[in-house]
Assembly symmetry: C2
Homo-oligomer: 452 residues x 2
Amino acid sequence: MQAPPTSPLLTDLYQLNMLEAYFEQDHAETAVFEFFVRKLPARRGFLLAAGLEQALDYLETLRFSDADIAWLAASGRFGPALIDRLADFRFTGEVHAMPEGTAFFENEPILRVVAPLPQAQLVETRLINILHFQTLIASKAARMVLAAPGKQLVDFGLRRAHGAEAGLTAARASYLAGFAGTATVLAGALWDIPLFGTMAHSFIQSYDSEAEAFMAFARARPEGLVILLDTYDTEAAARLVTVLAPRMAAAGVRVAGVRLDSGDLAVLARRVRSILDQGGLEHVTIFASGGLDEDDLAGFTKAGAPIDGYGMGTSLVTSSDGPALDCAYKLEEYAGLPRRKLSTGKATWPGRKQVWRRYDAEGRMTGDVLSVEGDAQTGEPLLQPVMRAGRRIAPSPPLAQVRTRAAAELARLPSALARLEPAAAYPVQVSDALARLAEATDRRHADQGARA
Amino acid sequence: MQAPPTSPLLTDLYQLNMLEAYFEQDHAETAVFEFFVRKLPARRGFLLAAGLEQALDYLETLRFSDADIAWLAASGRFGPALIDRLADFRFTGEVHAMPEGTAFFENEPILRVVAPLPQAQLVETRLINILHFQTLIASKAARMVLAAPGKQLVDFGLRRAHGAEAGLTAARASYLAGFAGTATVLAGALWDIPLFGTMAHSFIQSYDSEAEAFMAFARARPEGLVILLDTYDTEAAARLVTVLAPRMAAAGVRVAGVRLDSGDLAVLARRVRSILDQGGLEHVTIFASGGLDEDDLAGFTKAGAPIDGYGMGTSLVTSSDGPALDCAYKLEEYAGLPRRKLSTGKATWPGRKQVWRRYDAEGRMTGDVLSVEGDAQTGEPLLQPVMRAGRRIAPSPPLAQVRTRAAAELARLPSALARLEPAAAYPVQVSDALARLAEATDRRHADQGARA
């Protein structure tokens, strides 16, 4: 199953305004744009790059349909300089990017587009929209993975995600960051992500008694049976499970787990564990959910709560403590000349950049150098070519492989960063070559200003 | 143009697990579910209902495609009890709802579904996903509208919205709450929302000088020309506009506005206003953007900053200070008997409910009564029938009409609530009839527990 491509009208009006101006004036030399995060959000010591596969899908399939063109023509906003060129409009540029699952830091580009200015400009809005969200969620999910080592984390967030695409891509981003899977069926269908699901309170409420509901569910869903305990009284329900287990066993059904969804989960987990164990159900796992975030997970880990897995919802899929990244897609070069904007608080590094990463003898990251592309530094260059002439150079790696890379990245983080409260900032050094390029760019701009 | 329907696989796995159990056991009596918000987020004194049109679209078009069914069958998770019934699966129930744009409060249902249990259950995840997000954003947008009376507010949020659908429906939700329009072209195409757009920094950076860039844009986009000032130096750019205005006028172009996107906007707006006025450009409006939220707007309003309109991005489309609502879709009745769950902190009011709203002589809201459907209270009953036998009773109202209703609702709010910090809680009274129904439900449940 494949996600349908989105219309190129999923963009800001000003992109089309600028496109028309560029076409009219044949202002279409090669432009270089880079996507980066200006500043890490509070409590974040690193971010995980995600969304590249969908970004490349978007660039490869970018087409104005007949309906798109007809609507634009009928809007009366645009002349033939724009309208007549849309049917043949394609993205023909090249893209460099960090592989998905790579850890990155402030001001480091994770994607670079090199294309004729009209193309590189038009794609800005949707490229940001795709990369921003998946990076946001993968980075949030990584915190949860770090806070609950060895536990099974499952994305339960679709209902509170911001729309359909957010629900789907949050499942993808959290899986690549180390989650065990998702409850969202369509995400499983699209990306082969393991699916998890139990039962709802409404199932239990619709029967005259909990016992009747538990037996009904056991008969209908004998595989991997997980029973929800908190509809009325969690401990009473746990005792009921021990009473019913022999009847279920007689019907060939083995209880696999129970789920707690409200109350003081650490306390309830201990009591339920003890009830289950005394009832001979030592093999039954305990799964917890209900408004949890990574701080809750860290608390359970510290307390040694006997919980085997967690369903993570709202806090994951909205990145609730910081629902956006301060990111940008900025013009760094046009017609062979480096460019930068100087807006207060938003000045950028000009030119085509590369990030070199260095490691210690144990393979831990020790620091990055941000430099210009040609300036060979020691270390691993993180931006790699992924698209040429509008086509992928190689198929995007399977999600499982991205997930393996992300796990390796988390293991390579400095220990001061691999925690919920970063104890230090990661060192990112600006190379002399890049500093000189920025100065030269400013000098050229000042000279032009003096001449104007 | 119409948004494509989403696959019913956009749901939680447990919905399909329960569906199979219900089919196998023919457990398919009439169920009543209601959608409501348990608790208002911090600093919110009211919410605005939104998303009903898309929720009804979803219910009307709900179908499992051949591809959906093939994928489910191949997954090996389900037997013929489920698979064989999906091709004919339709939503055939009835829906009551508050009209979009209605103000509502804690524990008040804004939508009620009455349908055979398998249908009413399956739609839970996507119904919440649709109603939650648009309600969240309409409610956030209403705060911005209240904070900037008489100003033109425009949604600029697509790039930081959580995916495509969030960007689109945030444009819709903010427009219905009183925004003037959006920058998102596809939202304009889908719902006839006015579109706004200026130019990007990259446009200016791609020319050798700001003067050249401004003239190029003026020639290409002469209608409603808005010039972006902050790429290099905002005040210098404002002076440049006054210098270029006569040349633009000679080319038949009149500058309509300027945009500020960084720096101390209140201070810059005054300086720019003064530069423009001294240059004979009193008619040129000032538009501001750049990481603004409703508190910034209130500050500009209080300071009397000479800003005519605002572009609202991240804070709007992510509802950044509270990116989710504590909402639920809960079973309230099954097979003619009222139901409730008693989970700690999450107990619900059972039965089919109605909200009656009362007004004072000036038409201001004075308080609501939450009761059971048949219990005629004084006041205006807010839940109205909108769907019968799976079809809309009448077409959804045009968005412009919803917007008019929302404006009337904001005008009818108690003044203690029509502000950024609510000074009082809105009175919502639980009727005697509802309290008695809850007691009777608990008594019945306790009796069943005793018998079990």
